[in-house]
């Protein structure tokens, strides 16, 4: 048969290439049959031409190969097959898979917890229907420095509401602290009494129009419209009256004003800063102030009341800003207009401005998100490492599958099914872990009244995020291993000659381990710095005695009753000393007071902190006098004052002695400086020591500091309580120890440290799992190499160094990345404290040392096993 009597090769090839395999045989057969018929009838040339033409005719949809489903098996069938095989495989390697899944689950649980925490902290006061249109007015008071406050002058809200038509509504709200609420029993005495702080406020009926509050009983429009009315939350109605049908019942405020209950609302949710259980009519305020109450309501100088403004829809916030400037110019004196600076902040920012009392500053939230991402990424990396390391064991399976005609897509499908199964299991486990962790988190965040639950995920936004996370993890953690596994060349895989090269470049896995080392070391550096700073704050000498000092309230400014309290306390056994005053030597920021020094006409350009104390105050707290003497008597009409070193310096005096005998005027009272105190910490360690003045002023006294003999603390505190209750039956006893109060300053740091400790531990744990995965991978792939080395005379140490070299390099690389970033981050954090630990090199040394130790512990078992293996065994395998 000459060449012309066969169909053209290329047309045949084309057919083989494009036509679906199950059709190819009949199609090609038919074409060839017709070709040979035609060779006989019309000659070879024409036959070839027609063959080509007819072959091209098969380039139509029914005949052409479809990339994916050219096999008659349905996808559902393949999926079922994948699932069965996957379950068998997972079961066979159950130990490894369990460790792998648990590692991932722990990482995901962290991710979930952080996600819930962050979205909780971001959800504050965003649920109000008018949240987008509502603004919060704050005032910055400008002295030498700027003091931000979250309040405004009392008349401001009313003026905005009346004078500006684009303001839809405005409400004023006054927070209240340490109020005594008592429930009269109808016989001139009380059934119950409570001290309320923070959750009690004075506000207007507009509150219920601006903020979403659910009503149970009463009319929201009229409930707070007349003075001496109060609205209670459900739980507080129960607390006071043991029933929520309390409308018309009466409460007494501060033992002087009767309040009638006119409404009951549902308990406020935990994600609002406006968490009030007792809302008293704003019009009650003037009567409470007493004489001068009317004027106080029109006082533009004092910044005392919170103000929220709702704009009409579509009004630009700039108009509100303009209105605030205009109002300031119109109503304030020129001096005050310069001093008071009003700002409008969106309601959603209520929780994110630490300077205005927000508890969750955005940088911290973003840092938390990054921590969460890091942990999830670390968990994924670990998963990838362990999965690819175990790929080696499955090379035979891949070889057989490929030889049987499995395509790469099918193999990827198989491995993705397996990883998806583990990941879905890990996600479920992660949800369970998170569920059990949340109560701990809620306890840690008890100050916020947090009630985060796993069910918070059940809303559209969270579900989207969560689904995204799951899919992301599947792709991130599942795709790479399946790509690597499916790439094996079947022949080498079946011969068992896979080299590390075919197992996916080791550099990818090395890169992943470097990332893990980086994350782990970053956490360790952060942990060390935070721990040492918190430790430092605990142990720092604040410049005063902070041992067994009990602080009890002094609920009266009657000098006689104060004197009785002091004398009777001093008479109790076990009490060393008693001092009356206004606050502890170190206390939270209280607004500093402007003062005039000496004979100057103008007030000084810096204000002073004023601390109140009697003659026992200085000795009790062990404050040191540098010059002059302490108060001479407890007579509060005396005009003596003490100042601290800082004050002396800031007033421009070289030596403390020089200032003695000079005068200063505070709160309109003339005082003579009789003594200078050595500097002690007047504030939290965030801020520098302030210039401070001590005066003895009985009407400001509100605490009694009692230095106890440490011998019998419980009995003495009990005795103090009994005595206090007989002296002040109408008030509520509430005592605390000085050191407890000082610890409260750093609650935020404690919570943060707690979180970082937990997360670092988890990061380290996950990192260890990843290392373990890598070292078993290396041990497995180097079995032969080690065997040969040992036969050639390598010692065990030399073999161990094979592993050591690998990890030392990765670890150092991770450290080189982590050290500068950790330094930058922690430097920024420490700079938030006026007094902080120095950032020594030892921190890096400890971080590196800890990582090395953890790494050695993790990799030693596998590498020792590899190094000790009898070369005869390792070389015989295969």
């Amino acid at each position: 048969m000459n060449i012309h009597s066969t169909p053209p090769r290329w047309a045949d090839r084309l057919l083989e290439w494009v036509v679906a395999p199950h059709l190819l045989e009949e199609v090609q057969g038919d074409l060839h049959e017709r070709f040979y018929q035609r060779v006989r009838t019309v000659g070879p040339d024409e036959a070839r031409r027609r063959f080509i033409w007819e072959a091209l005719g098969f380039l139509r949809p029914f005949a052409v190969k479809h990339k994916l489903d050219h096999t008659p098996t349905s996808p559902a069938f393949m999926l079922r097959n994948h699932l069965i095989i996957s379950l068998r495989n997972l079961w066979r390697n159950r130990q490894v898979n369990a460790i792998n899944g648990v590692g991932l689950a722990v990482g995901l649980a962290c991710g979930i917890v952080i996600f819930l925490l962050v979205s909780y902290l971001f959800s504050f006061d965003r649920y109000h229907a008018k949240a987008d249109q509502t603004y919060w007015i704050v005032t910055d008071i400008r002295h030498d420095n700027v003091i931000p406050t979250d309040a405004t002058p009392r008349p401001l809200g009313d003026v905005l509401r009346r004078d500006y038509p684009f303001v839809e509504n405005a409400v004023r709200l006054e927070n209240s602290f340490e109020r005594i609420v008592s429930v009269p029993n109808g016989k001139g005495s009380f059934a119950k009494k409570f001290e309320e702080s923070r959750n009690i406020c004075f506000t207007e009926p507009q509150f219920f129009q601006i903020f979403d509050v659910k009503w149970l009983r009463g009319n929201p429009r009229t409930a707070l419209s007349s003075p001496n009315t109060v609205v209670l939350s459900e739980r507080y109605a129960r607390k006071y009256f043991d029933t929520d049908e309390a409308i018309g019942r009466v409460l007494r405020l501060d033992n002087q004003t009767d309040l009638t209950v006119t409404g009951i609302i549902k308990n406020p949710p935990s994600n609002t800063k406006l968490r009030y259980d007792v809302l008293i009519a704003y019009s009650t305020v003037p009567a409470l102030i007493g004489a001068g109450g009317k004027q106080a309501m029109q006082n533009w100088e004092a910044v005392t009341t919170m103000c929220f403004v709702t704009l009409r829809e579509g009004v630009a916030p700039q108009r509100l800003t303009d209105a605030l400037i205009a109002t300031g110019k119109k109503h304030l004196t020129t001096q005050d207009a310069k001093r008071l600076d009003f700002h409008a902040l969106p309601l959603a920012d209520l929780n994110h401005n630490p300077q205005y009392g927000g508890t969750a500053p955005r940088p911290i939230l973003y840092a938390l998100i990054i921590v969460g991402l890091f942990l999830v990424i670390a968990a994924c990396i670990n998963f990838i490492n362990v999965t690819t390391a175990y790929a080696l064991k499955r090379s035979k399976e891949v070889g057989v599958r490929k030889a049987m005609g499995s395509t790469r897509m099918q193999l990827i499908g198989q491995f993705l099914t397996e990883t998806t199964l583990i990941i879905v299991a890990a996600v479920c486990m992660g949800l369970v872990f998170a569920h059990f962790c949340l109560p701990i988190l809620n306890t840690a965040l008890a100050v916020l009244g947090a009630d985060i639950a796993i069910t918070d995920l059940a809303n559209a936004r969270s579900l989207t995020w969560f689904a995204g996370l799951t899919v992301g993890v599947i792709l991130l953690a599942g795709f790479y291993p399946s790509l690597v596994l499916s790439r094996f060349n079947p022949i080498t895989a079946l011969r068992g000659q896979l080299t590390t090269k075919e197992l996916g470049s080791i550099s990818v896995r090395r890169g992943l381990v470097v990332v893990q080392f980086f994350i782990t070391q970053l956490f360790i550096i952060g942990l060390i710095v935070m721990m040492s700073q918190v430790q430092y704050m605990h142990q720092k000498d604040l410049g005063f005695y902070k041992g067994a000092v009990l602080m009890v309230p002094v609920p009266t400014n009657d000098p006689l009753r104060q004197q009785t309290l002091r004398n009777q306390l001093q008479a109790l056994p076990g009490i060393d000393q008693v001092a009356l005053g206004a606050e502890a030597p170190a206390s939270r920021q209280r607004d500093p007071v402007p003062f005039t020094f000496d004979t100057h006409a103008e007030p000084e350009n810096f204000p002073t902190r004023v601390k109140i104390g009697d003659m026992n105050y200085v000795p009790l707290f062990g404050l040191k006098l540098l010059a002059g003497h302490n108060f001479r008597s407890n007579d509060t009409t005396s005009n003596e004052a003490l100042v601290n070193e800082k004050m002396v310096k800031q007033l421009g005096f070289r030596s403390p002695d020089a200032i003695l005998g000079k005068q200063l005027t505070i709160w309109g009272q003339r005082k003579v400086i009789v003594g200078v105190l050595k500097d002690f910490h007047t504030d939290e360690l965030y801020s520098a020591i302030s210039p401070t003045t001590f005066i003895n002023y009985h009407s400001e006294n509100n605490i009694a500091a009692i230095k106890l003999n440490p011998a019998d603390l419980p009995a003495t505190t009990k005795a103090v309580e009994t005595l206090w209750n007989t002296l002040f039956p109408e008030y509520v006893y509430k005592a605390y120890f000085l050191d407890e109060m000082l610890d409260q300053f750093y609650l935020k740091e404690h919570i943060l440290l707690g979180l970082i400790q937990v997360f670092s531990l988890i990061a380290i744990l996950i990192g260890c799992l990843g290392l373990y995965g890598l070292v078993s991978f290396i041990a497995e792939s180097k079995t032969k190499e080690i065997g040969i080395r040992k036969v050639m005379g390598a010692t065990q140490n030399q073999v161990l160094w094979l592993f050591g070299r690998e990890f030392v390099r990765l670890l150092l690389l991770g450290f080189v990345l982590a050290a500068p970033i950790g330094w930058l981050l922690m430097r920024g954090w420490l700079n938030g404290f006026a007094y902080h630990v120095s950032f020594g090199w030892w921190i890096f040394a400890v971080a590196l040392g800890a990582t090395v130790l953890i790494t050695i512990l993790t990799v030693s078992y596998q590498s020792m096993k590899a190094a000790l293996m009898n070369p005869a065994t390792s070389l015989r395998s295969e």
């Binding site: 009949e26 057969g29 038919d30 040979y36 005719g57 029914f62």
Partner: protein, 112 residues
Amino acid sequence: MKRTYLGEFEEIVLLTVAVLNEGAYGVAITDELERQTGRSVSISAVHAALHRLAEKGMLSSQMGEATAERGGRRKRLFTVTALGSRALHDIRAVRNQLWESISPQALPAISL
């Protein structure tokens, strides 16, 4: 009654398979079609129609014997299924019914 739609070409191919009875495969069907209708038919169109009919369940097929002239490749032999037969009968019934309903004068006379 819901009936699977058959195109004109599909109907002719189906009928041809019936005509050829045992030996209906691509080449034979194409040749028979050309002979019976006198029109030139591309073999790929025939294949497409055969597979469409098989998908619709009107044809079944099995692989037949291989011949040397096909380079050792087997033929796919088609047979009409019960469903296919039913469809052909239905079409014929409709046509007959329509022919019977045409009054003798309605169609212009043509010479055969």
